[in-house]
């Protein structure tokens, strides 16, 4: 009988929501799908401002726009949080070709990786050695690698449902390829683009040189997946082919930039902060619509939706447009530093930085008792087909805010198309579907409503 009672208690105890919440969430849904500003906001950010790499003029414009738009929505306070950001510039379009024999060349699509050094003005031209892993690199050793360009060509795995997982298993080629290859005398690296598709778009993204002195740094570029396949095929026919890479990118001095923060004080628990955010900077090749314009406008739009349904938050709501997620996360660090100094109590933080696609659910970082409460909310989201509530990471800009008791979460949209666009010239507004974007706004606003109403268990 004890087991039965336990079971019964379990069933009875887990529903932390009321019928009224269901009605509220229906209202949030109707308002998000009929009267959201998300799409219009993103249209402006993408099409009128565009790509906004940290330290660029466009990033400054985005800061100003974010501040102005948040001021229109009716927050108690909107302010800029000053910080220093790295400033890396791509320079003129990169150039690369494969030379199979003198005079026989094929142009290929490449782009410099963010943070890379330039090649000499005439470029570097050398033999290529293809590897799939750092282990293979090590086994080949200095003997086989010295003086060559290392070609990292391990594809993202197709047979993983989460493309982010596939990305995680491949991306060390991009982030650490150069610093690994230089150990064995490589003079440059080219990395297969982080994409599951075969196409002609090179994918940029951050890379680092560890503690290498400036003189040891070698240029690193991404190559499109089609070109990677071609290079690999040609290497089988002619292992002595040459590759020419020319890029003129540059790391300048750090410059001033800002996180944009908006706050509405909680009517009942002003000291309990709920943070919602994404990152305002983007890579420079596209206009950053999916990464992370979508997360920015979904976050900004949340108070719009609350206003339209006449909901007054009980807890303090903060929207943070983080600067410099892409190549430094300086915005996240600055925000955390100030929050810590001021002893701020973030009970819940939610990040949207996985694209503006149909939301499938959320990933949570939470202790067990709060996660039980959260799981009971899943029922409310199921009619909207938002039903994946998993423990896991949250997001790069909020992860530092973790405490023993608070809850962090990341919106988890359908990931199948994300890496078709990620860090490329085609991450643009036309790749956004209005309904998919708005469903994300709805999902985020609804989750925030529930955390605002019920708080967390400490």
């Amino acid at each position: 009988m004890k087991i039965f009672i336990t079971l019964l208690t379990f069933f009875l105890s887990i529903n932390v929501f009321s019928q009224n919440d269901k009605v509220m969430i229906e209202k949030i849904f109707d308002t998000s799908m009929n009267f959201s500003n998300s799409y219009q906001l993103l249209d402006y950010l993408s099409n009128e401002i565009g790509g906004r790499l940290s330290g660029s003029l466009n990033a400054d414009r985005a800061v100003k726009w974010g501040q102005e738009e948040l001021n229109k929505i009716g927050f108690d306070k909107v302010w800029l949080q000053k910080l220093m950001v790295p400033k890396w510039v791509r320079g003129p379009k990169e150039f690369a070709l494969i030379e199979t024999q003198p005079g026989v060349t094929f142009n290929v699509d490449v782009c410099a990786l963010g943070g890379s050094v330039a090649t000499p003005p005439v470029g570097i031209k050398a033999n290529v050695i293809e590897v799939k892993s750092f282990e293979e690199l090590k086994n080949l050793g200095k003997n086989k690698i010295d003086g060559k360009i290392v070609f990292f060509n391990r594809p993202m795995q197709s047979n993983l449902v989460s493309t982010f997982q596939a990305y995680g298993k491949a991306v060390n080629q991009r982030t650490n390829g150069a610093v690994e290859a230089v150990k064995y005398g490589a003079i440059g690296v080219i990395v297969r683009s982080m994409s599951l598709r075969l196409d002609d778009y090179p994918h940029t993204g951050t890379m680092n040189y560890g503690n290498l002195p400036p003189s040891k740094k070698i240029p690193a570029a991404a190559i499109s997946t089609n070109a990677a396949e071609k290079l690999s095929d040609l290497l089988i026919i002619n292992p002595n082919l040459k590759f020419l890479l020319r890029q003129q990118c540059k790391q300048l001095k750090d410059v001033v930039s800002y996180n944009v923060i908006a706050e509405i004080k909680g009517s009942e628990y002003p000291n309990e902060i709920i943070l919602i955010g994404g990152h305002l900077d983007s890579w420079d090749l596209g206009d950053g619509s999916h990464d992370d314009g979508a997360g920015i406008v979904q976050s900004m739009d949340l108070l719009n939706i609350f206003n339209k349904i006449n909901y007054t938050p009980k807890r303090t709501i903060r929207i943070v447009l983080f600067m410099n997620e892409e190549n430094g996360t300086r915005g996240a660090k600055k925000y955390f530093e100030v929050a810590k100094k001021n002893n701020l109590n973030h009970i819940f933080a939610l990040e949207s930085d996985a694209g503006g696609f149909t939301p499938r659910g959320f990933s949570f970082t939470s202790n067990e008792s709060n996660f039980k409460m959260i799981q009971s909310w899943k029922k409310i989201f199921e009619p909207y087909l938002i039903n994946s509530f998993e423990l896991g990471g949250s997001g790069a800009d909020i992860a530092l805010l973790k405490t023993d008791y608070n809850v962090l979460a990341g919106l988890r949209p359908d990931s199948q198309r994300y890496f078709d666009y990620h860090h490329t010239s085609i991450d643009t507004f036309d790749a956004i579907n209005k309904r998919e974007l708005e469903l994300g706004t709805f999902a985020m606003t609804s989750l925030v409503y529930l955390f605002d109403k019920y708080g967390i268990i400490k």
Copy 2:
């Protein structure tokens, strides 16, 4: 104590699958994502054949292609099932304009609805009356409608998660608009395109005249959503504006066509048939990649996947490429008629006709005992985020096969983008994402594997 035991029995009884099934489904997943032919097959059907309206030369080509491709896969038998189909032809591109005053005109994007009659060669030109419903039409009556063009402008509802549900609530304007409007003396109808997006693409689709004699039939066209908004705005300014519509479409005599059927006999239960299918015909404006090229190639590819994992079906597997779903469902009717005459026992039928997007789950028509078994399978699909298993419809081509005991199902992909493309010139191969398509192939193959292994409860 009774309740407890019931609960316990419930928990213990519902798992109709083994650990081995999970392994098999992992294999199906790997094979679908790494070695599927779905994308290549669709590339050919879409780009080499293209739009294939019933009775067209392209529909004939598609039949031939389907037969040839199925023959390559290794079925026991591939054959054509002869039937008569309607042949409607669009003729030259339609033309329409709004005339706000003599000499001041705006061209608008329209297309004839499938089955519509032509206008006279010079077109029809008349005043327009905008309505949102048949009730409004009735209330206006002959007095207000006689001699005019009726403009049906009720948008699809944004605040429904399922866009198919929104379609269902709007589509009677297209299917029955003409036959309703003619009662009150209308001389033509234009219908707001069945889309949730504002754009310039008119959406065709089937319409019918009920029992109207030929002389009473009035032309019916779809107008793009942007043009519908514009017309509506202009009507407020000038209710006396004129609309000119010219279309030269034609209903010809029925012609011969075919369902394409492939079969592999079951090794243990040859008399139990599992049918998988989609429709081979499409509208003429695009190349029918989502509607329903996706469903065709997913169905065709299923035996490929089984072969690659060395799975021999215990029950008879039939792939049916149905002809004429779009404007007559003659293929479905013929298939059913022959199946009935031959007393065939279809224990399970699965249709894919909702686009090649990320699969979210399946909709089932099933009795309670079979549905309990099916629900226990949901656990196997959850790691792949395919977790919506609902009772509901299956699909237009298989619905006739329902018996008291058998199970019908429809693949349910994410529906958010479906009506961006449906029945338009942009339902083309570039709107297909390879992974999303292959996930559908995986979902279908896995479900068929489970039905093949466990059969149904009679």
